[in-house]
Amino acid sequence: MTPDGNANRRDAVKQPGLWVLLLLTVLGVVGLVALMRTDSGPPARNTLPPSFDYDLSSLAKVDPKWIGYEPTAWFPVAMRVVRGVALGPDGLICVAGDRAIHVLEPDDGRLRRKIALDEAPRCLAADGDLFYVGFENHVAVVDLDGTVSAQWDSRGPDALLTSIAVSQDDVFVADAGTKCVLRYDKSGKMTATLARRDARRNVPALVIPSPYCDVAVGSDGLLRVVNPGRHRIEYFTRRGDYEAPLTWGQSGLAIERFCGCCNPVAIALLADNRVVTAEKGIPRVKVYSAEGRFECVVASPEQLTSTDTMTEETRTAHKLLAVDLAVDRQGRILVLDPAARGVRVFVKKKPHAADDSESGEVNDE
């Protein structure tokens, strides 16, 4: 074997040189550090930078100075699903839900009686001793004893009755399914279809993206119809003429406007035709003047999800299906809370608590 031959030969697998060892050590250390920094488990700690964060809770803050009412009572209702609240005879509070109407005492919310129904009701109105109960596609007239005195014709599979309002001679029924308001006489005969798009009579279409559409009749005989998709309260005569100048309501996040999709979900009228509105999404109840000027907040989102009446579970599971409203004779506002399943009662704060005349100055324009 020649020396130069040997010189040319080397081991195929060499002994590691110093720099190789050094490099390997560095690589090992870097690799180990990186390995330890690999996410080892679910990042439950929320340490990530708030990429793509969309913070909704800040939207729901209500300035306390707008709050003009305070909660005074909480009447739980023993139902799984509550749908509507109405003021019955003698100021009784009537709640429709499940397959029954519960009649509560106005003072302490004690259950006076249960009226069993054959189907699940969706809305309720009281007229004297009679109840008009709206089911999915028909209306039934029920008395306090649960006797069904009349069952009106079904409106077919497309119908979805969401609200009933009773005036002197008529019963108005909002049908969110076919997007119109039906007028009945008290015998159950349908006499007109209102609020259906009619270019000739200048009636705009009701925009109802989700099944909420409320109606109310004022002491002036005018019908208030919520057009939830347009965030408006529209006014109609009983003959169906659209009172465009009276219509009010604006979209927006501001406190005096209606935010989100399909709001307000419910309205009720105070004695002087001022309007109480309820919204979903950001759940809040507000009062507007008869002309649509924002006056004050009845219940803020925090109050509607407040802790004092709910168990922990319901509190976190607040489904915000939307509330229903009623106003009783003393001007108390009854808010039906579907998540906590009960009626919240709000009364006007004493004047010294909040200066309503001033807060009422806010106009949405």
Partner: protein
Amino acid sequence: MNATDLNNETPAITAGYDAARRTAWVAWIVVAVICAILLIDYGRRLGAKDLRSLMKLVVGGASTEAAEDPLDSPEFVALREALAKNPSDEGLKRQVRDLDLKLRQEYFQQRRFVRLGAHLLLLSVVVLVVSEKTAAMLRRRLPNPEPVDPSSNATRQAVCGRWARGAVVVLAVVVVVTAEIIASDVSTDLPTNAAELASLGPEPGGSPLVGPFAPAGDVEAEPQTETKTPDFPTDEELLRNWACFRGPHGSGISAYSNLPLEWDGASGKNVLWKTPVPLPGNNSPIVWSDRVFLSGANEKRREVYGFDATTGKLLWTTEAPSTPQSRAEAPQVMEDTGFAAPTMAVDGRRAYAIFANGDVVAVDFDGNVVWSRSLGIPDNAYGHASSLAMYRDRLLIQFDQGADDDQLSKMIALEASTGRPVWQVKRPVANSWSSPIVVQQGDQAQLLTASDPWVIAYDPADGRELWRAEGTTGDQGVTPVVADGLLQVGSEYSEWFAIRTDGSGNVTETHIKWRGEDGLPDTVSPLVVGKLLLLSTSFGVLTCYDAIEGEVLWEKEFDMRFTSSPTLVGDRVFLFGQEGKGWIVALSREGCTTVAETDLGEPCVTSPAMQDGRFYVRGKKHLFCIGHSEEDNTKPE
């Protein structure tokens, strides 16, 4: 021969080798550059401005996730804020739009850039590998290892073996130390084992004790040791006392007939004593020899009371011990239900109470707590109201909650002396307010439960299901009774069922003797008087059926709401109206006749507990003992 010759190193090969070598070098550099660029780009995505801040980010534990909202750019946020202040500024809007477009383009460009970088990196690595391999191939020098003597190999091997053992030991030490560090570094706040969890509060709310991971022995039926003397009351003892809701077998039938038929709360006629009950509760009294037991609760406190049956003295008040559940918020209950709706049970040794929050407590006759247990706050729409039942030395709890498919409802049997679970079965039913009863069907004891939608009979010894029938849908508040082998049960929104109790499996199609639709009660439990079945709605309508055939015999309306369940004393039925007014009626197939009208003078929603010559009934505020007073002339001879 020369290796160089052999290796055939022609100039072409040398040139090829050099080219490959150079390519490899270039490829190394390219790989390094691409890696550096990608790293810098990654740092930029994380917000590093220069190399130093990048190093800081990398070392300092910045998030490994670099996807960022392009619109989080501070510039953009500032513009948006400006626009919000000045909503009609068209110029600002244009600026926002331009910047927005730029940011979005950058965002996707960035992604394309990384993608491109990755592909380029892959390509250069391929080039690198190919050129390196080629170079190695072209300049492959054959190694020339020295021959080694196998015997020296043996030495080498022995040395290597020694070193290797040392290394393995070192590795083992490293592993142990690492494990120890990790184990001591990570702490936990949770209870660390099932035993500790059990000690916290046995079987927390709604958790399935039954299941693959339940600690053994806690669920399984405990083997009954032969030497253990049975420690439970005899049937005769049970008959003499009123040990649970509606007395013996939950039938509402008194073993005594020597009870007064007249009383008046206002004048105190035949009221032997009346004692105020500290806390409200809608549970009915239970009696064992000279003790009357009641429970009461509000949102905060849960108490059990022991009264002297003779004098009415409140002997002791025991507060139920605090449990994790009771420290939590009180459950939501209806006022009509309250926090202490379930009636207690007593076995002559201890008395047992359950409250709306799922706390169970056992007290002895002197008011000492024997054990307490929390079953967890039940998910119950009106509040838990199902009363306790007993079978031998077992406390039986119908713990229905949630909807029927929630898998939350269960039947629980606790050992009466210790409170340990003996068995527990899940029930496919919704929440209910009906109480379980235990009756004897031939040789087989049956634990009967009614809920929405199933009526289920269990073997109270081991929880084995005996039979079930479907139909009692809707709120089930009525407690069933059994007479003549027929289970009488129903609810307001379904029907009335008379079910033969000798079935097995699903008996819906086979064992329902008859169904009724009239006078369906919502809360008041039925009473069977001979062959008559008496139903009572809460609105004051009594309906009488033929208990065997199901024929409606008559109806009668009272001007009173009923919540209290009727009780049979001899051949007289005691009825208590919600406002305290009461009727004693005699039944026949033709109708009922009022024998006497009474008035407790206090609203009453509970059912009475009957004993020899006297009975106890709970009013809104007081516990009454009604019996023959000195001047009572109705006293039977």
